[in-house]
Symmetry: C2
Subunit: 150 residues, 2 copies
Amino acid sequence: MLSRASKYAILSTLYLAEHASKEKKMSVKSIANSINVPSPFLAKLFQQLVKCNIISSTKGPNGGFFLTEDNEKKTVIDIIEEIDGTNKIDDCFLGLAKCDGNNPCPVHFIVEPFKKKIFGKFRDQTIKEFANEVEAQGSVLFLSGLDKKK
Amino acid sequence: MLSRASKYAILSTLYLAEHASKEKKMSVKSIANSINVPSPFLAKLFQQLVKCNIISSTKGPNGGFFLTEDNEKKTVIDIIEEIDGTNKIDDCFLGLAKCDGNNPCPVHFIVEPFKKKIFGKFRDQTIKEFANEVEAQGSVLFLSGLDKKK
DNA sequence: TTAGTAAAAGACCTTTTTATCTTTTATTAT
DNA sequence: ATAATAAAAGATAAAAAGGTCTTTTACTAA
């Protein structure tokens, strides 16, 4: 549904929103270590996110990544569409090219309400709002020992 | 969430349950054509499904694939676990290695009820029951838009 | 018993995804 | 200025997923 790349991107952008600021920029390495993501891979993802104005960066000493107020207004869907090139959440769960209420796959009516919910959250909530909620709820952003096999 | 391989396997097994029988076995090619799946790839998947007794086959003229009564009692979860090597539906939506009510990822409480529902259906309903429902509801099993339906 | 059929087996190929490494460029503190 | 720092850029590599092809084996009907 989501690529590993977009999962990394979502988690690390939320992490930035929570922990970084214009005054306290963060390096790829420190973020990669914090959420347990391969740092050269994350560096590549961040390059892409900077280019499309989802996150910001400056080079040199005290440089690093952070979010501007503009960045904070982006959404998780923006991240997914940038990294995966499309919104795969919307694809049919069983792979049908054309799956809808009139032409439903065998699980369409189970999957549809879920998609509406998660899609709504990812589209209607800004990164900042999402990050605030994450903090308030004590949600976890660390992959920890993510299964690197499989 | 599901690999393409397991999607193919699920759809074609349901298709077999609906259209094949001990008296009317079906070839890989006819099934592959019907549901729009690459036939050499489906052949490989079917080999695997035969080996683990989810579907059955005989060689030679009038040979092909079909389901025994034993096969009909298998579940979609059996297919997924055989083809994907694990049940990826149960993985955390954002990739956390350990994601549960105490250690929730940012979307855990949205994803969890959906997983319960779809997992329940895939585990508690036999292939035969599922196929009957598919038939009754007129659900679609064809990957492409081309309606090959009756 | 033989010709034709269809699956089994296994080798092989391609593309995509994930991940790493090296060099260059921009920034800043001294 | 210069040395240190950290991201940008780009080349490369490893692994997984998806897909194809050829040969062998089993079965059946004429």
